[in-house]
Amino acid sequence: MSTATLDHAKQAAAAAEAAAPKHAGLLLEFETPAALMKAAEQVRDAGFSKWDCHTPYPVHGLDRCMGIQPTILPWIVLGGGLTGCTLGLILQAYTNGIELPVSLMQAENGVIRELLAPFLPSGYPYVVSGKPIFSIPANIPVMFELTILLSAFAAFFGMWGLNMLPRFHHPVFTSARFKRATNDRFFISIEAEDPRYDRQRTRALADGLGAAHVEELVA
């Protein structure tokens, strides 16, 4: 057999493997939230990490059964809010002509100031309705709005980041039964990528969880 034929055979096998549906995990279907929660506790105790529950409505207490840790999202939002508040203050100070670091540079080292000058557009010390150039009462609305804006951004995009969104596909969508996850059925999906996942043993575990139906997912 020539090496060319061998390569060809290898390629064909690889192509066949790529075309064939790949085992992606298990989908367990339950009829009641109570059965789902009981099963979720066992999956949690088995130490899986890449698994999830899918329910048509929020099920109270499910996060405890799944062993989900409290989210760090509030801290991200706090960081976003504080950033916005500071940014609002600096923005207004700068645009009103208060440029503390730049003035310091000017005082200490004229060369640096001259070198940086073209890249440092300056604000205008512009008196509006007799108010001081820089006064906190006038600055609070912008600081407040930027706090809200960056908090909202941090909450929205932080949530996407923590959930690794956007995600356009998931193996559960290959299942026809999964459509009922938005209607009247409760599901647990365990992904094959989980380090604890073993096709035979996990299947045996899944069969013992009291699911109404266990399905192998393909990707």
Binding site: A34, M37, H60, P74, S129, G130, P137, A138, P141
Partner: protein, 443 residues
């Protein structure tokens, strides 16, 4: 599912305040005696005497605010068909029903106003004749500070109005602020509030007997128009009681400011009330989930108060019109600047940071500490609104008198609330949404 918390009504804990009444009465009597002794000092101590009317107004407004907050809470829960709040609603109804007590507590305010100690334009001898009404109520030391030092000159007012004029220029406004109209309006408001409160209380208590869900539908229907009535009357009462202390000054935002303080102090009171009830083995249905929601409400209104307070200040500061800025100028002199600055920290920064996280809202002890703080700073806020106005009272702070009047009125108030809740369940037992409330969970 949280089936464990979905207890059937028969398994609920103790829900009657009746057995607790003797203990409540003992505490109330003690508070009343101590408070009355402190208040009676005002007959001998000049510093007390100078402050007594203004301090009484502060204490009265404090309890009025809690009552109005309760009334708003009850109407709001029906308006939005809230499920979570059913277990805490009965106590709120009991607090709102204290509107029947208000006309009695109001009597000294009416007397003080008539005699010219409080609202200059509503004093009996204020001159309402025509457009240049030059009433002399507060300008006359004999009336403004009976037995006390002469009223200090008012540079801000003097500069703004050329001195001496204490009734508004506009004849219609002078009429509006005059004593008969002031008294008539307040009595009308008391009647309206009592009507609203007794309707919701009566309907809710009647539902305990017959369990008729149609009552809930009717209350929801009425909640919408009554909410409008409440908004108007609450705003106008704020104008009459506090804003009219300076008949020239006006702020269209003042009613909202008044309301924000009302609801804030009510939420704090409700949290403390349930903490006390639970310590005596009552109302066990109210758990961390409900504390969490009450805490959220309180936190929200800490922010709302700051938002309104700042908005009002910023607009006046920016507009820089003498007849508006005079009100804030008065709160930046005679040491009031310190109180003004302190309010920003104590009424906003501290409770904001303390209540921001989920942690304290789910721990009754911490939340009660926060509520006590909120009530304290709310009272300081009321003093800040009232005391810089009557000239006689400006100089001397007399915390003992505040404590005395707060205790006297508080004793009457607590006794009245307990009476409202005697003989009825502390939980609306047959409300159609009770199960929602019992099974309520926050995310």
């Amino acid at each position: 599912m949280a089936s464990a918390t979905m207890t059937a009504p028969a398994q609920l804990g103790a829900r009657r305040i009746d057995d607790l009444l003797p203990r409540i009465n003992r505490g109330v009597q003690m508070a009343f005696v101590v408070g009355a002794l402190l208040t009676l000092l005002s007959f001998v101590v000049p510093a007390f005497r100078e402050r007594v009317w203004a301090t009484y107004l502060a204490a009265f407004t404090f309890y009025l605010g809690i009552t109005l907050g309760g009334l708003f809470f009850v109407v709001l829960q029906h308006l939005v068909r809230a499920g979570w709040s059913v277990v805490v609603r009965r106590v709120a109804e009991g607090i709102a029903l204290n509107t029947k007590l208000l006309p009695v507590l109001f009597i000294p305010v009416a007397v003080g106003t008539y005699q010219g100690h409080l609202h200059p334009a509503a004093a009996a001898h204020a001159d309402h004749g025509g457009g240049h009404g030059a009433a002399h109520a507060p300008a006359d030391p004999g009336h403004a500070a009976p037995g006390g030092a002469p009223a200090p000159a008012d540079p801000a007012h003097g500069a703004g109005h050329g001195g001496g004029h204490h009734a508004p220029h506009a004849p219609l406004k002078a009429k509006w602020l005059s004593f008969p109209w002031f008294l008539g309006r307040m009595l009308l408001f008391f009647a309206i509030w009592y009507g609203i409160a007794s309707y919701f209380y009566g309907s809710s208590v009647a539902q305990d007997q017959d369990g008729d869900p149609a009552r809930t539908s009717r209350m929801t229907w009425w909640a919408a128009p009554l909410m409008i009535v409440f908004a108007l009357t609450c705003s106008l009462a704020g104008f009459d009681l506090l804003m009219a202390l300076d008949p020239y000054w006006y702020s269209t935002m003042f009613g909202v400011y008044f309301f924000a303080g009302c609801f804030l102090s009510f939420m704090a009171t409700l949290i403390i009330a349930f903490y006390v009830l639970r310590r005596h083995g009552l109302a066990w249905e109210v758990g961390p989930e409900h504390y969490h929601d009450m805490g959220k409400f309180m936190f929200a209104f800490v922010v709302f108060w700051a938002y309104i307070a700042y908005s009002q200040f910023m607009l006046i500061w920016y507009g820089n019109i003498p007849e508006e800025t005079v009100w804030y100028l008065r709160r930046m002199e005679h040491g009031w600047l310190l109180v003004s600055a302190w309010l920003i920290v104590g009424h906003f920064v501290i409770p904001f940071l303390a209540l921001l996280s989920r942690f304290p809202k789910r721990r009754p002890e911490l939340l009660v500490a926060g509520s006590a703080w909120v009530l304290f700073v709310h009272y300081i806020d009321l003093q800040w609104l009232i005391l810089p106005q009557p000239e006689a009272a400006r100089a001397v702070p007399v915390p003992l008198l505040d404590l005395g009047l707060l205790l006297v009125l508080g004793a009457v108030y607590v006794r009245s609330t307990a009476a409202n809740l005697t003989g009825v369940s502390l939980i609306p037992e047959r409300d159609p949404r009770l199960r929602d409330s019992l099974a309520h969970e926050n995310f």
